[in-house]
């Protein structure tokens, strides 16, 4: 099960994730992010607060990467807030550490855009 919130802060979509993101739970997040992108044309950056994310696999990463491709078309950046070592390992395995920035707070991410 995953709980999440998505809000728009300036030019960023900030998603806070809590729980397990896998094949079963990722479609809800995908729909929410896609809708938020479509409804907020000024939003171009993606900030994922993953401090309470307990699990992610390639299905969850696929949703994040898909939305990042949309963000890239708007010139946006990708941030992960407070990724713990286990989440960081999966992000590294996927190569996502090469395109994302790792920060300690949402405010730090917003400062960097």
């Amino acid at each position: 099960m995953v709980r999440f919130s998505v809000k728009v802060v300036g030019q960023a979509l900030v998603a806070t994730l809590d729980g397990d993101l896998d094949l079963h739970t990722c479609p809800q997040l995908k729909d929410a992010l896609t809708e938020a992108f479509e409804q907020n044309s000024q939003a171009k950056h993606l900030v994922f607060d993953v401090r309470h994310l307990t699990f992610i696999d390639s299905s969850g990463l696929g949703v994040i990467l898909g939305r990042y491709r949309a963000a890239q078309e708007r010139g946006g950046k990708l941030f992960f807030v407070k990724a713990d070592p286990r989440i960081q390992r999966v992000l590294r395995l996927s190569g996502m550490h090469r395109i994302a920035e790792f920060v300690d707070s949402t405010a730090e991410a917003l400062d960097r855009v």
Partner: protein
């Protein structure tokens, strides 16, 4: 001492989380670190997701998982009886996927990275079996 379990359940996405949690609980009988448990959860999640997405695409069927350990060698076998893989060599290349819109093609790569050994067997229209081994260092 050898110990084992066998699970069988419908190949639907809601069971992916159950499968990785169940196998992690079984593996926790060994002297295992949290990082090693996380590796096992990722590998099982990827294997069962592949059964659901690729094995049982447009059809339904069961997934069978057999897990066993003897000493510190843990073996996990995940099997579906679905479509099978037409080109097993191509399927093992990083980034290969038949569903590029949704999948990263990293499932088998993640399984290999998280486990010590991986063997893939498949026959078209009969199904796919993945055998994964993790050797837990003695502590």
């Amino acid at each position: 001492m050898k110990n084992w379990i066998k699970l069988e359940f419908p190949g639907t996405s809601v069971n992916v989380g159950f499968a990785r949690a169940a196998i992690a609980h079984f593996a926790a009988q060994l002297e295992i670190t949290l990082d090693e448990l996380e590796d096992i959860k990722v590998a099982v999640s990827e294997a069962v997701s592949n059964c659901v997405v690729h094995g049982y695409r447009e059809k339904s069927g069961n997934v069978v998982i057999e897990a066993s350990y003897e000493g510190q060698r843990l073996e996990i076998v995940v099997e579906d009886f679905g479509h099978g893989i037409p080109d097993i060599d191509a399927a093992q290349e990083t980034g290969y996927t038949t569903l590029p819109e949704e999948r990263m093609g990293l499932g088998l790569t993640f399984m290999r990275e998280c486990m010590d050994e991986l063997y893939l067997y498949s026959r078209v229209d009969e199904g796919t079996k993945v055998v994964m081994v993790k050797n837990i260092p003695p502590r």
